[in-house]
């Protein structure tokens, strides 16, 4: 069973993602899979031909994928960014903030829990990849930070 939560309107990429190494070796893949130890910056010269980046979370406690996501978004990547693997409902909100817009968890998530988790935080303290205005911006009358 593959349950993908997707927060995008465009068509999903139809083919499987390749590893970063094979992506850098060949030129025709539009989907690439980033493992925790991979350097997401290696993809930056090729962003215009990528439509899907899957970031693997083999264990939810390995947080490297949060940085990988922000790095890609900071560099202007606007394709699909999918968290794959040990993705739990209690990590979704932070993942969204780091730029993920789709999720492919190993274990299916309860729809109600997902909705509650994503709606939970009315405000945020920091700038991240989600364009939400941090509390300091709201305090100082600038609702459109970063």
């Amino acid at each position: 069973m593959v349950d993908i939560l997707r927060y995008r309107d465009d068509e999903a990429v139809g083919h499987a993602a390749v590893t970063v190494d094979s992506f850098l070796d060949q030129s025709n893949a539009a989907a690439v899979r980033v493992e925790p130890g991979d350097d997401a910056r290696a993809l930056l010269p090729h962003l215009e031909r990528i439509a899907l980046v899957e970031v693997n979370f083999p264990a939810f406690g390995d947080g490297r994928g949060y940085s990988s996501a922000r790095i890609l978004r900071e560099a202007g990547y606007d394709g699909e960014l999918r968290a794959v693997g040990d993705v739990l409902v209690d990590q979704l909100a932070y993942m969204r903030r780091c730029g993920y817009d789709s999720f492919e968890p190993d274990a299916p998530l309860d729809a109600g829990d997902v909705e509650a988790a994503l709606a939970r935080w009315p405000d945020v303290y920091q700038v991240a990849a989600d364009q939400r205005a941090p509390i300091w911006a709201l305090r100082h009358g600038d609702g459109h930070a970063a």
């Binding site: 940085s67 945020v124 303290y125």
Partner: protein
């Protein structure tokens, strides 16, 4: 003192609701313990040796009487009438029920407190100088910077699953009263050409591989502070070791890369992040600073102390320190009565300290990392009244920074990680010196005891350090000498083979005798040790 606005309050309230939901899912079985553990830890809830333990954050160690009363009420209502003040300026409760935990967090939220990120592999509660705002030697009050970083680090989406825990300290004076260079990041607010900025020290720590943090940047402008911290964290999150939890702290990364290479990577990341607008405007720092404006100090003459009561005079000499304002001092309430449990306070004692703070210290208290409580702004004229009330409650021990003022982790009496008990050793040592009357003549002598290699009792940084180990199922204690966590920071060295419990008490006595024999005028224990070296101590200990 910082006050929550509606945003801060809403964030903390939301966290309570989130945790209430998570605890419910754990209790109904939809979360496994493995899944729940990191969630409860990020709310300060451990499963300890005897029960759940809750660690409550006291940001930069500052609290007011209302908050101290709330801590006392929690001790009575949900625990067993006491709490334990920790070496991270926090408080922990030892007998918490999971089914009560969300209610406790809700009670805390009512007084602008929380347990957010007091555990877990995230940025922990930020510590600071316990004399901040009162010390004559500070270039600024460090707490606004700590508060700015508290907000930045709270619920940080990128840095909540770091390789390991992450501790930050902020100070603003040359004197280091917060063990700044033994933190993952130590920040010293400095003044250069009239402008304030931040010096960053990265990669210090205690634990099984103690290291002193090198300075990686001498001056970060204040309008780039958060961005620079973000760069330091990102390099760590990406490249810190995750293959071995004992090598996962940032100190190992900095050590393995070398400070120069780590710095290069941080600077590279920093340059990129500067483009991302992650820095709050200086107006936000200014807003925070308004909460830390000096209290209106009375125009008090520097009254001469009435020294007619010798017990009071002893306490006033030992447990008060100069204040930047004439006629005031900072008074230290000792939580180290000889024979007592270092850092423990009963609910009644907490309430009393809260009340005294309200009456005599501009409604402020501080938790010291040495597990005592500071009343930062006390008029000299009020000292005798204050001391009388403290002494009657068992809080008047005149032993600040002496051999009785021992830092001790909870040890095997409470902690599931410990290999040996710490508290009984502290009790025996303090009692021996109190009974022999030698405490005062030994002067400043910082003794720190940890019950395992994780070093929560800061033994590496003790003038005298004691580490409890498990030797074939029997408690054994290693002695070390020469550590310091102050501005003269150094790491202690082990003397030699370990001792049993009574043996290590004798050994401490022995090394103090060497000091008394060898010391020159005005030398502290640590000064004598540094001058004469380990050999005379070893000879006395092992013959």
């Amino acid at each position: 003192m910082y006050k929550y606005d509606t945003y801060d309050q809403q964030m903390v309230d939301t966290r309570v609701a989130e945790f209430r939901d998570q605890a419910r899912r754990r209790l109904d079985g939809s979360l496994s313990e493995d899944q729940f553990k990191p969630l409860r830890l990020m709310n300060g809830l451990y499963l300890q040796l005897h029960a759940y333990m809750l660690r409550v954050a006291i940001p930069y160690g500052t609290l007011d009487s209302r908050q101290m009363h709330a801590l006392a009420d929690i001790a009575d209502k949900y625990d067993r009438g006491y709490g334990h003040f920790t070496t991270r300026q926090n408080i922990q409760y030892n007998w918490i029920k999971l089914e009560d935990a969300a209610d406790i967090l809700a009670d805390l939220a009512k007084v602008e407190m929380h347990a957010i990120q007091t555990s877990g592999n995230c940025i922990r509660n930020i510590s600071s100088d316990h004399f901040a705002g009162a010390a004559a030697d500070e270039v600024a009050d460090p707490r606004p910077y700590a508060e700015l970083l508290r907000q930045w680090s709270s619920f940080h989406p990128e840095f909540s699953y770091l390789p390991r825990k992450f501790k930050i300290a902020v100070i603003a004076s040359k004197k280091d009263r917060a063990a700044m260079r033994l933190h993952d990041i130590g920040i010293r607010i400095v003044k250069r050409d009239g402008a304030l900025g931040a010096a960053f020290y990265v990669g210090g720590g205690m634990g099984r591989t103690p290291m002193i943090a090198p300075c990686i940047r001498e001056f970060v402008p204040l309008d780039q502070l958060v961005t620079y911290a973000e760069a330091c964290l990102r390099v760590y999150n990406r490249h810190g070791r995750r293959d071995n939890k004992y090598k996962a702290r940032i100190k190992i990364l900095v050590h393995e890369l070398g400070a120069e290479e780590y710095t290069r990577q941080v600077e590279e990341e920093f340059a990129l992040l500067l483009e991302q607008g992650v820095e709050p405007p200086l107006a936000e720092l200014e807003r925070i600073k308004t909460y830390f404006e000096e209290p209106l100090f009375a125009d008090a003459a520097a009254d001469a102390l009435d020294r007619s009561d010798p017990d009071f005079a002893l306490w006033a000499d030992r447990n008060t320190v100069p204040h930047k304002t004439a006629g005031y001092v900072s008074a230290v309430v000792s939580l180290k009565p000889p024979g007592g449990i270092p850092g423990d306070a009963t609910a009644e004692q907490m309430r009393l300290m809260g009340d005294l703070a309200k009456d005599y210290s501009c409604d402020e208290l501080r938790v010291m990392h040495t597990q005592n409580i500071v009343l930062p702004h006390v008029r000299t004229a009020d000292l005798h009244t204050l001391w009388t009330a403290l002494d009657a409650a068992g809080l008047g021990s005149p032993n600040l920074d002496t051999v009785e003022d021992i830092i001790a982790c909870p040890g095997l009496d409470y902690c599931s990680l410990a290999n040996a008990r710490s508290i009984p050793v502290a009790q025996k040592i303090a009692t021996r010196f109190a009974d022999s009357g030698k405490t005062a003549q030994l002067g400043e002598l910082k003794l720190k005891i940890s019950g395992c290699i994780n070093a929560c009792g800061h033994h590496h940084a003790g003038h005298i350090g004691i580490l409890g180990v498990d030797k074939k199922g029997v408690e054994n204690y290693q002695l070390s000498l020469g550590g310091s966590e102050a501005e003269d920071v150094s790491l202690a060295k082990i003397t030699g083979p370990g001792f049993d419990e009574d043996g290590v008490v004798d050994a401490v006595d022995t090394v103090t005798q060497v000091y008394e024999r060898e010391r020159r005028d005005g030398e502290r224990f640590i000064d004598t040790y540094r001058r004469i070296g380990m050999t005379p101590f070893k000879e006395a200990l092992y013959g």
